[in-house]
Each structure stands twice: as structure tokens, then as C-alpha cells.
């Protein structure tokens, strides 16, 4: 009954188009996007044929407010793209359009044929009316054999939670379990919309390290939404800074030094970022190396303000 093809590849007419002219992003390169409202009338650039998800000239207005203004974005296999921007910048809206949950007023979204998406939404509120164990919930992502289930729960450090009720989990545990549901689908692309609500700074950094490690192991593309460049920087290949339009994009270091970034987040953020960058330089290099699973034997990342979805 879950007809996957219906939701995907809405503009399949150009699926057979030959390779688009190189939309190469050399590391260190920085694309700077000016506001050009002329975008609406000029022909958009062709979709990147290699991209898992590719969008061109997305425009979207709600209640008289233009939330997306001519957005172009591509997520390539094995690439971690981080979307940052202030509140109200349209990050979640853009993610929803890319996932096909919302239809843009103008522009096209193309998903690779048969693309399997793993999604970790911004808010996950547990509904106590539905009795649901952790493994049953994860299994809703895909019918999974027992060892598949054990493997993904182990990968996110939730190996011992399988028989627990979803409603009994702490915020940090719940976040890992939702991630496990995304992973059990063996996704081509993992989409995480600010997956760190109600989790403290250590838990946040741990989660991003985990995602970086899983990407190295599985080779899926990742689209990550974050309000904070500091913690995601070590794991990101490319950062797209969004404020309804794409302000700037490139490798994390170049975005952090970009005047548009400083303007959006304040010079202090840019400076703090620089410090972080220096003291944690080694981490970036080690990002691909296997590390012990984060949760086992460690104090659970948890914040008292949000113990579960109540």
C-alpha cells in the first residue's frame, strides 16, 4: 500500500536528461548568491543529474510572506549538506518542499528515481493513545528482520531499548530511536531537521559525530538543518546559509568567514566559530574514523525540560 513512486520523482520527464554541465564545487570554493529577483523570469539552471535531490528556483509564499525566494539546492551522494539560517529563514519549509510534503508556488524539485528517504522531523511528539514499542515504531519505517532491527538500534546506541514503550523514552533516547527508524530503511538520503531539540550541547555534538560516522559507513547523502554552525561544522562538507534566499554556500570555513554569515549571526558568532575551528581542527580530519558507539556506558544525553513528548 505504501506506494513510494507516487511521492517521488515528480518531474520524472527530465530523469533521462544527459549529465548536466559541471556544477562542481571544489573544496574551498565559495558560491555567493546575490538577491536576484530576476530569477523568477530567467530560465533556471538545469537539475544536477547526479544529485539525490535537486531543486531549482523554488518560490513559496504563505499568508502574503515570501518564504522561499528562488532557491537552488542539490544534495549529492555521500555528501553532508548543512542548512543554517536564523529563525524564520525558511529552513523547515525548504526541507518540506524537498521531501514533497509541501508544493512550491514556482520551481521544480527532482528526486532520483526510487530514492529512499530517511527523515528525522523537527518535532516528534509521542502520542500516548497509541501503544507502541520502540522496535514496532522503528519497523514502521520498513519491515525489518530481527537482526536488521538490532543492528540499527545498536548503531544509534539504543540497543537495549527495543521492548520499551515509546512514551517512556527521554528526549535523547527518542531522538536516537527516530534516527534508527530513518536508518532501518537503508536510505539513499538522510534528512534531519534540527534533530537536537531538548538535547544538551554534549548530546548535540555526539549526535552529529554519529551522523558523520554513519555517512562514512553507509555512503548516503545527508541534509542537515541546524541553527548553529559551531557544532555541525566538523561533519559538514558544504554549508548553505539561508535567509529566505541562499545568502552564501561553500565549505564550512569559508561560510564562517563570509560577511553575509557575520551579518546574519553577528560578528561574535563568526569569531567564536573561528576559535572553535582552531581548537577542534583535528576532529575534522578524524571524522571518518571509526569511533566507539556514543551511547553505551555513557551518561544519557538528556535535558530535564523535555523528558518525553508530554
Amino acid at each position: 500500500m505504501e506506494s513510494r513512486d507516487a511521492a517521488r520523482d515528480r518531474t520524472s520527464h527530465d530523469a533521462d536528461r544527459p549529465l548536466a554541465p559541471a556544477a562542481h564545487r571544489e573544496h574551498g570554493d565559495l558560491d555567493h548568491h546575490h538577491h536576484h529577483h530576476a530569477d523568477a523570469t530567467t530560465d533556471p539552471a538545469p537539475h544536477d543529474a547526479n544529485a539525490l535531490i535537486s531543486a531549482r528556483s523554488l518560490w513559496l509564499s504563505r499568508a502574503g510572506r515570501t518564504i522561499l525566494q528562488g532557491i537552488d539546492i542539490d544534495i549529492a551522494p555521500n555528501e553532508i549538506v548543512t542548512l543554517i539560517g536564523p529563525n524564520g529563514a525558511g529552513k523547515t519549509t525548504l526541507v518540506r518542499v524537498l521531501l514533497g510534503l509541501e508544493t512550491p508556488d514556482k520551481g521544480t524539485t527532482r528526486r532520483k528515481r526510487g530514492l529512499v528517504v530517511g527523515y528525522v522531523p523537527q518535532r516528534f511528539e509521542v502520542d500516548r493513545a497509541i501503544p507502541l514499542t520502540v522496535s514496532r515504531f522503528v519497523g514502521l519505517g520498513r519491515r525489518a528482520e530481527d537482526d536488521d532491527m538490532a543492528r540499527v538500534l545498536g548503531e544509534v546506541g539504543a540497543g537495549q531499548l527495543g521492548d520499551r514503550q515509546l512514551s517512556e523514552l527521554s528526549g535523547g533516547e527518542l531522538q536516537r530511536v527516530v534516527l534508527a527508524r530513518a536508518l532501518v530503511r537503508a536510505p539513499d538520503v538522510l534528512v534531519l531537521d534540527e534533530p537536537v531539540r531538548g538535547v544538551d550541547y554534549v548530546g548535540e555534538a555526539e549526535l552529529y559525530t554519529l551522523i558523520g560516522r554513519l555517512r562514512s559507513e553507509h555512503g548516503f547523502g545527508v541534509l542537515l538543518v541546524s541553527h548553529d554552525l559551531h557544532v555541525v561544522m566538523a561533519q559538514s562538507d558544504r554549508v548553505v546559509c539561508l535567509n529566505r534566499h541562499v545568502c552564501c554556500s561553500g565549505v564550512p570555513q569559508s561560510v564562517a568567514q563570509h560577511p553575509e554569515y557575520a551579518r546574519l549571526f553577528g560578528p561574535q558568532a563568526a569569531r567564536a566559530f573561528g576559535l572553535y575551528h582552531h581548537s577542534h581542527d583535528h576532529r575534522h580530519d578524524l571524522a571518518g574514523e571509526p569511533r566507539p558507539p556514543p551511547a553505551t556506558g555513557r551518561p544519557e544525553a538528556r535535558s530535564d525540560s523535555q523528558s518525553d513528548g508530554q
Binding site: 500500500m1 511521492a7 493513545a129 501503544p131 514502521l140 527508524r181
Partner: protein, 265 residues
């Protein structure tokens, strides 16, 4: 025991309990109790129309419940009037139309009570056919959409992003609800139909660890309360439908109180 009318009542009630249990779980999970109430009350219009035109009452009720479901889908697209107000409005408008129509059709002597609260002892062999064939269709459809419907009831956006065709699955659910309401009205009446859907599910919730367990416990509660309700009705000469609902309420109380006393939420 052994009286044909009693056996028919028992089979009708238990058949309904089996299909109402999983459906009622979804009504509870999707917070559609008031929606179901509205569709059921609109069934009275179908009864009036059926009496006026001498049609099969279950068939004419089914036409009306389907039409009202379609109307609600259309009306849910506007946002000027909140959906629960809309349901309240429609439920009572339907009740008013139904009562007036019934009065015009047969005069005040018509036994309106039988349609409001059901008349389980008047179930005929043809009613039983409707209940079992309609119930089997409803149950099969529900089993078919079970996984995607459960997934979107847990988190609709997540299900949609994973490729579930949410609109289609929701449509199947709404159609199944209209069908089950139509076959339930003869047995428990327009005013008690929704009780028969949500009470077994609600009583089953505190005892359940999985969605399927909840549906199973709900079916057991439903079937038991049909048997006990009929026994009470015969013993104390009380009306059938309300007696069953009373037993269901007692089951719910027994199931929920330990939870409340233990201070669990």
C-alpha cells in the same frame, strides 16, 4: 437461550464487535470520535429517506454516511469555521432533519427510540447478512491499510516523507468508517454507534503494549459486553443497546482506574 431472535442478536452484536474493535482503535488514535458521531447522527436522514422511499434501511443509511463523509472532506478545506464546530453543527443539523423527516414520514407514532438507540432484538436474517458481508469488507480493507494507516496516525509527515500515500489511505479509512457506522445503526442506533466504536478501544488501551494487542483486547471487550449486555437486558427487561453500552462503560472504568490510582498517565 436458543431463541432465534436471541441468537440473531448475539451474532449481530459479536460480528459488529469484531469489526468495530480495530476501527475503533483508529478512531481513538486519530481523535475522530466526534467525526464518527457526526456521521452516525447523519444516518438518521438515511433512515427517514429509506422509510419514505421503502428502501433497505442499511443501504439508504450507507448512502447518507458516504455522502456526509464526502461533504466533511470538502468542508475541512475551509478554515473560517473550526472543524470541531463544523462537526457539532452538522451533527445536530442532521439530527434535526432526521427527526423532522421521520415525523413527517410516519407520523409521531414512529418508534424513533429504536433508531436512536437501536433495536438489537429486531435484527433480521437479512440484517445479519449486511452485518457479516459489510463487516468482512470493512475488516479486509482495514487489514490492507493497517500499516500505512498506523504509520500516518503516529506521525503523518514522517509517513508521507517515507512515501506513504497518506491521502489515499485516509480516504479508505473514512469509507470504512462510513460503512461500519451504516451497519451498526440497526444494532445500537445513531446515538450509541460511536460509543460501540470507542469504548472497547479505550478500555483496551491501559492493558496493551502494541497496537494489535489493543485491537484484540477491544474485540474481546466488545464481544463480552454484547453477551453480558443481552443477558442483563433479558434478565432486567432493559433496552438492549444501552445495556451493552453500560457494560462497556463498566469495562472501561475497571481498566482505567488502576492506572489512575497508580498515578500513571
Amino acid at each position: 437461550m436458543g431463541e432465534p431472535f436471541l441468537l440473531r442478536a448475539l451474532f449481530a452484536g459479536i460480528g459488529l464487535a469484531i469489526v468495530a474493535a480495530p476501527l475503533g482503535c483508529f478512531v481513538v488514535w486519530r481523535r475522530m470520535a466526534y467525526y464518527g458521531e457526526t456521521v452516525a447522527q447523519a444516518g438518521l436522514i438515511g433512515i427517514a429517506a429509506g422509510l419514505a422511499l421503502s428502501l433497505n434501511l442499511t443501504a439508504s443509511v450507507l448512502v447518507v454516511t458516504l455522502a456526509v463523509s464526502a461533504l466533511l472532506v470538502l468542508l475541512s478545506r475551509q478554515q473560517m469555521v473550526p472543524f470541531d464546530s463544523l462537526l457539532g453543527l452538522l451533527a445536530h443539523a442532521a439530527l434535526a432533519v432526521g427527526v423532522i423527516a421521520a415525523a413527517l414520514v410516519r407520523g409521531p407514532q414512529l418508534d424513533l427510540m429504536a433508531f436512536l438507540f437501536g433495536d438489537i432484538f429486531a435484527i433480521t436474517a437479512s440484517d445479519l447478512q449486511w452485518i457479516y458481508i459489510g463487516g468482512a469488507v470493512a475488516l479486509a480493507a482495514l487489514v490492507y491499510v493497517w500499516r500505512p494507516l498506523l504509520s500516518l496516525s503516529v506521525h503523518e509527515d514522517l509517513a508521507a516523507a517515507e512515501g506513504t500515500s497518506t491521502e489515499r489511505v485516509k480516504l479508505v479509512f473514512v469509507l470504512v468508517l462510513a460503512l461500519v457506522v451504516a451497519i451498526a445503526i440497526k444494532i445500537v442506533g445513531v446515538l450509541l454507534t460511536i460509543a460501540f466504536l470507542i469504548m472497547p478501544a479505550a478500555a483496551a488501551r491501559p492493558l496493551s503494549e502494541t497496537p494489535e494487542q489493543m485491537a484484540l483486547f477491544a474485540a474481546i471487550f466488545g464481544a463480552l459486553s454484547v453477551a453480558l449486555g443481552l443477558f442483563v437486558s433479558l434478565t432486567f427487561d432493559t433496552p438492549g443497546g444501552p445495556s451493552i453500552v453500560l457494560i462497556l462503560a463498566l469495562f472501561f472504568a475497571a481498566a482505567i482506574f488502576p492506572t489512575v490510582l497508580r498515578g500513571r498517565r
